[in-house]
Symmetry: C2
Subunit: 149 residues, 2 copies
């Protein structure tokens, strides 16, 4: 079904690139990513290469990075998981935006899609996270039935 599998770090990079490139319309540069994750630029280049190999990015060496349609789709799936968790932390535990994001980041990669879907369903398929950013609906998360990933 998927055709590729992402490591945890790769998902973090993909989500970050989506937020900057798509949601903030910024140019995404290796150094910025490196600074964000507190790693060396060479490390970023390597991850970029892997995400490119998986057809999620288009990387123009020494220039910039862009998401492919597939990359955008995958990033939205990942961000949906992350943000559904934020909705939960914010509502259930009254966490502020900062903390909701922090705790969601620790488990978003490990939480199963069916778990996320159940939380999503509980909250009536919310369209935005606590900081008002979009949560894109996922076809696997319907209002009626329960299914596996």
């Amino acid at each position: 079904m998927v055709g590729f599998a992402l490591t945890e770090k790769e998902t973090k990079y993909l989500m970050l690139i989506y937020r900057w490139r798509i949601e903030s319309s910024s140019e995404v540069r290796t150094t910025d990513i490196a600074r964000f994750f507190k790693v060396r630029p060479a490390t970023v280049t390597e991850v970029l290469r892997n995400l490119t190999r998986k057809k999620l990015l288009v990387h123009r060496p020494y220039r910039d990075v862009d998401l492919t349609a597939k990359g955008i789709k995958e990033a939205r799936k990942l961000l949906r998981k992350h943000r559904i968790l934020e909705v939960f932390f914010s509502d259930f535990l009254k966490y502020d935006v900062r903390r909701s994001c922090f705790e969601a980041s620790k488990i978003d990669y490990h939480a199963s899609t069916s778990l996320i879907n159940d939380i999503c369903r509980f909250y009536g398929h919310p369209r935005t996270c606590p900081c008002k950013k979009d949560i894109f609906a996922d076809p696997s998360c319907s209002n009626e039935d329960v299914e596996e990933e």
Copy 2:
């Protein structure tokens, strides 16, 4: 504070050994652990050696394994996290025992102690998980903001 750090797998082994050795009073054998985790006995021996090095187990080669006081303490902490998550899944999403355990297993290692404590507090510091096994109170999770006598 801790003096040791556990890998994810090590926490799984420690919890399993606690469940079998302490909660079920069984002898814990290498082969049983290997069968449970679907790995080769040699792999189990290696993990056992590492847990022993961390002073959590006493391993009598070719014979059996036992938990040290430190190992029991640590296993209870880990199982507390796991079981608090089970309480949540069971209550909030109406998961059955089997599924609560399954989903909890995926994230128990990654959920922060403060997150677990907040869920624990929400549920009034439950003493048992959905399948009635003990949840040992953790000193870091205070009762202070609960109703007084």
